[in-house]
Point group: C2
Chain length 156, copies 2
């Protein structure tokens, strides 16, 4: 099953290496990971998306909790959260411009650059809408795509 | 100086541990890091924001390039790129609702949840606009803030 883990850490060199090491040590691949400072810049929030056996993920969470500099680990899967992702996409500008604009409008994507060669978008959304957006752009020729990885916030 | 590194990797367990280990081994803190699949899901793009001596960062880039599963490392600092970040913010709903809406409109932030207790926003932007948005919300009482970390795309 796919899990979303939210990990609060102290901003110390090495904490990310230890966290990712706990996954790679068990041969677990991390699908996406984001780490950035919280409102208190002494701390960072790490959001990890990973897929695997529920019991092993529970064990990893316990081991994460024992790491120095790890303050709190929460498996937020299935709780009252919102997940979002940011995607930057560059496509060829040599396609029907009205089609590009229509797709952008449908998904509230913003065009951040439009040159003779390329059109570059920014879009944020949940997994489903990002997937649909990318699928619609694919036939137009995607030159580059950069995803942020998912971030999650509790609504409670 | 602050650097933005864009690293293309093969999706193999352990590559993130090796990458972050190169920074922590030198006592370098990573300010933000995102890793997520590219359009070809066999590969992921890692975007790293770090601050430090230019020569040491150049050395780290060379060492990154030598890692197995690392396909390409580019220090995109100062090149023709756009950087964006996604932020989810939860504030108390017990404040003037029109003030919340005004701030949201100014920054094109979307309200994703509004309960009796909390108002939760999603916003994307560059460093400057995110900073201004957070500063304006601070006096209203930020309950939680989750940043994606920066992602960057070349406009060339």
């Amino acid at each position: 099953m796919r899990h979303t883990l939210s990990v609060l850490v102290q901003n110390e060199s090495g904490v990310l290496t230890k966290i990712s090491g706990l996954f790679s040590g068990r041969g677990f691949n991390i699908e996406s990971l984001t780490v950035a400072p919280t409102i208190d810049t002494d701390f960072s929030k790490v959001t990890i998306i990973t897929t695997g056996d529920d019991k092993i993920i529970e064990q990893i969470c316990k081991q994460l909790n024992r790491l120095i500099n790890v303050i709190k680990v929460v498996d937020v899967t299935g709780t009252n959260i919102t997940e979002r992702e940011l995607v930057l996409i560059k496509i060829s500008a040599k396609v029907d411009r009205s089609e590009i604009l229509n797709i952008a409008n449908m998904f509230n994507a913003k065009i951040i650059d439009f040159t003779k060669k390329y059109c570059t978008f920014e879009v944020m959304g949940d997994e489903k809408s990002i997937k649909s957006f990318v699928e619609l752009l694919k036939p137009l020729g995607i030159k580059e795509l950069v995803r942020s990885g998912k971030v999650a916030i509790s609504l409670d």
